[in-house]
Symmetry: C2
């Protein structure tokens, strides 16, 4: 196994960081790695905001649901889907790009571009001995996040990435069975097969929690997910995106 | 610079592959790396379809706009945003998860989850000496792609990933200036600053093309992008997604 693969397979979310900021060089390396990712038709539809200012970090931590590690880390990146520069360049080149920028397709392109870049950043950080945690919680209140970071229309903050020196390393949660996620030549639609795979996985997850909590927790995955999905969260998202001139047309 | 960072920074899209299939072990390693990526609230909202069958690959290549490397490679992966299993588990656990699954928020979660997994797969493949190319072209006609790969509702193929032994290695296109993509504490909204950065970048890109084509091409980036975005492509996307029970509510 080479270093790249062992870095990737060794990933776990880190939620306790030492009080030691990243250096400018580390930040620059991480961002350069993000930028090296593939981008759809060279569109480069993302921006990254590094947040250092303690007051801003504190506010973001509160908005993300009082997640302390949003405030206390080595550096906090906010990854944004960004079609603002494309709006500018449309003006500059005197081309009508509005319909494109407001399409569902380009919204998807921007999301994918941003996530590919972010994952490069995450892996690069981990390869430097740093830990990371993605923060979807900033989507709890994007209106406020935009205000705090002065973000223009056509830019949607998608998630944060807390990076820093790990102070406490947690275990790795086992993933869905290979056979359930990977299909060959066609998607396995047999419901019985699928449910059987999920049952097998439930057992693996229940065992994992039981061991980790000395028998206190024994959630099954399907139970966890059903409870999560029964709650309707962030239902303001569509309206928010449309208000920000990414119209999902 | 460690091996991980040099692998990441060395990325380029490969569009000519040797006629040599990936081994089962390579495929398994790549998929395991994909699965090791972070996933929002452990939701694991993606599936991967490996396409080996020559007829299917040929059809996909045609649909993607006659891209030969979709057919001729070491392996072709299709990465899908997948909330189908969550629909099944809602039934299984007797919880009403429909409204959640049809929300814009969960659509975004699934897209991000899928892209994070894919980028891990890409980096893992590159670390094994393989080349990769993302294929957004499969979104030209997702209805047909779904038929060919027997994909159920609530699953959206997002892009392909052609992987294989590089037969021809291309150059790397310079990315947007660091300062234009990375902001500190707040987004740089000054239009003049932004346009100035884009002008600088235009020069870099024009030089790049000039050198690569012995003076034949000298496109500027903003010109390229404005021309790309002036065309309205894949405008069926919203309707397609909604028809597939991801309602963008």
């Amino acid at each position: 196994m080479n270093d790249v693969i062992s870095t990737i397979l060794n990933h776990r979310s880190i939620r306790h960081f030492e009080d030691k900021p990243l250096t400018e060089e580390q930040i620059r390396t991480i961002v350069s790695c993000a930028q090296a990712a593939a981008t759809s038709s060279f569109i480069q539809a993302y921006s990254i905001i590094g947040v250092k200012e303690p007051v801003k970090k504190k506010k973001l931590a509160e908005l993300a649901g009082n997640q302390e590690y949003v405030e206390k880390n080595g550096h906090f990146f906010v990854f944004c889907a960004d079609l603002y520069r494309h709006s500018l360049l449309g003006e500059k080149e005197d081309k009508n790009v509005e319909a494109s920028l407001e399409s569902t397709e380009k919204f998807m392109v921007a999301l994918i571009d941003t996530a590919l870049a972010a994952q490069n950043a995450a892996i690069a950080a981990e390869s430097l001995g740093l830990g990371i945690c993605y923060i979807g919680g900033i989507r709890n209140n994007l209106e406020e996040v935009k205000k705090i970071l002065h973000i223009p229309d056509r830019v949607i903050p998608l998630f944060g990435l807390a990076v820093g020196y790990p102070a406490k390393v947690t275990g790795q949660k086992p993933r869905l069975p290979f056979e359930h996620v990977y299909h060959e030549d066609e998607y396995e639609q047999n419901k019985e097969v699928n449910l059987h795979q999920l049952d097998d996985y439930n057992e693996i997850i229940a065992n994992y929690y039981q061991q980790r909590t000395n028998g206190v927790r024994k959630d099954r995955w399907t139970e966890q997910m059903a409870a999560l999905l029964e709650k309707q969260t962030r239902m303001y998202m569509k309206e928010f995106i449309q208000k920000n001139k990414l119209d999902l047309r």
